[in-house]
């Protein structure tokens, strides 16, 4: 009996060393963390969105949070802001870095590595430092950097963070400042994979720089573009800390700087309405998921994956 027990405990102890079991041991940490800190909270987000959570008292209230959300004008404003922000960041952060990377890829350009290094520097700063700096450069006093620029062009000072349009501009500007360099790097990495010979063949055929860009660079960098697009959509729709920093803790006039996550934070943590905040989160999840799926489908990402494997 005791011998049997010993044998089984021995085999149990040696079990993880079995080559058939080892792979599962290797991925076990991921499964645990994924289950506890990702899958469970996601399921919980859905559950919470149908509840009213008060300290010590949880009530199931069905679709009430969603019904309220549908007629919530502040939420609508937050959505409009997030979508406008996403629109501008996509417009600026997808094509511009592609063009910059193509220009930086000219072998004959002197100091190209220096430019590359400098353009990347803002990525080293935190949103906090970037936010503080831009907030103070955009200060409404006459002497601030942006107001002196306005004076240079004979324009009066602007209360940058108190207007809806210039406030949006400030948030987009922080994003562009921090991410242009990173996106340039993505594209430059992609450009390394395009062989010189293809460009040379265009030279022989008498094609110009624009044709090279249009018919070789852009199509061959499509996978990179899709990647940049995906992370940009994801990041922009979930933007919050930029607005939190620029507007001193989520407080903007007429909610001009309020984003979807900002609203989630306000409802869930600042006003302790966790159920309602969770409903905002579920909404965001669905939007990000649908937009990214549509985008990946549109660009034929899934078809390509199938073809290559």
């Amino acid at each position: 009996m005791s011998q049997k027990k010993k044998a089984s405990s021995f085999s149990l102890r040696s079990l993880p060393y079995d080559a058939r079991v080892a792979p599962y041991v290797f991925i076990l940490p991921f499964i645990l963390i994924f289950g506890i800190f990702f899958a469970y909270p996601i399921v919980n987000a859905f559950v919470m969105s149908f509840q009213e959570l008060l300290p010590g008292q949880i009530t199931f209230i069905g679709w009430d949070n969603y019904k309220q959300l549908a007629s919530d004008t502040v939420f609508r404003k937050a959505c409009t802001n997030s979508i406008t922000y996403t629109f501008w960041t996509l417009l600026l952060l997808v094509p511009c870095p592609l063009i910059f990377a193509t220009l930086l890829n000219q072998k004959a350009l002197p100091f190209r590595n220096l430019y590359r290094s400098i353009l990347f520097i803002p990525a080293l700063t935190s949103v906090v430092v970037a936010g503080i700096t831009f907030k103070l450069m955009l200060s409404e006093v006459d002497t601030s950097l942006f107001n002196s620029l306005m004076h240079l062009f004979g324009q009066p000072s602007i209360k940058w963070m108190k207007r809806a349009d210039t406030g949006m501009m400030a948030m987009v500007m922080v994003a562009c400042w921090r991410w242009t360099g990173v996106n340039i790097m993505y594209y430059m990495a992609g450009l390394q994979n395009i062989s010189e010979e293809i460009y040379e063949s265009v030279d022989i055929d008498g094609g110009n720089a624009w044709q090279k860009f249009r018919y070789i660079t852009v199509p061959l960098l499509k996978p990179t573009t899709i990647y940049v697009l995906t992370i940009s959509i994801y990041g922009s729709m979930a933007m919050f800390i930029e607005s939190y920093m620029l507007y001193e803790g989520n407080k903007s006039i007429a909610n001009n700087g309020l984003t979807i996550v900002g609203y989630l934070y306000r409802k869930g943590l600042q006003q302790n309405n966790l159920g309602y905040g969770a409903a905002v989160g579920v909404f965001l999840l669905l939007v990000v998921f649908i937009v990214n799926m549509a985008q990946l489908n549109l660009f034929g990402m899934f078809r390509k994956e199938e073809g290559s494997k």
């Binding site: 700096t133 950097l145 990173v182 992370i231």
Partner: protein
Amino acid sequence: MTKNHAVVMIAGSSRNRRRASITVSSLFFIGLSIIVLIPFICILVGSFQPGADIVTYGLRLTINPDRFTLDCYRNLFLGENHYFTWFKNSVLVTAIQTVCTLAITSFVAYGFSMYRFKGKNILFALVMFTMMIPFEIILLPLYQQMIQMRLINTYAGIILPFVANSLAIFFFRQYLSGISHDFVDAGRVDGCTEYGIWLRIMVPLMAPSYAAMGIFVGMNSWNNVLWPMIIINSQSKITLPVGLSSLITPYGNNYDLLIAGAVFSVLPIFVLYLFFQKYFISGLTAGGIKG
């Protein structure tokens, strides 16, 4: 003869065009580099004036020479403030988070890359899936869960949910796919256990990817605000970005500490960037490696 002449002409005009393109590009990038650096110049210049002037004048490229002072820095280093407590906390959190994340994700990635097993594709699809979901969506349920798990106000609460960083798993797996299986087989022949192979053979082989991922994870941790801000509620435990963000008030009474502190928080990263630029770039652009 005429044909040759034509070739020379084409070559000549294309050389001219190329030279013009280089000049225009140079001017463009000089301009762009200056624009990108302006915020740094502004904050650096601004840190050499009294904190109150920042509220009065905003940030700009010049300061009043009469008002030049090192008070912001004197206040930062010698004044009564929590800055270096925050700094120390951030160093601690960043170090623990980086080491744990690298160890766990490279361990997991090894499993995904070197074995064939049932359910592998589905599990790896889950890794990819987590990369597509913004963390903010689980903010509230995770916060609730942290309260229930008594992880509120602990560094474990900041770190644990992120130690299986899916981007790092993905990156390590990509890196490992370039390493020959012969190493693994040789290890087995020599009597290494599966884990011994990982620790003794693979970990040393993965050194360059550890450098890049270390910077990726470390930077994310060093600059992380939202989650630490929610999890930590005692002054003595908050991290640097959270502390800095708490200094922004409409009254501007802490701006000397804020601005010198902001400069000083970026400084260590800049110095590291000067020496390890290659790793910074490959680390911070990790996701795009597959291209």
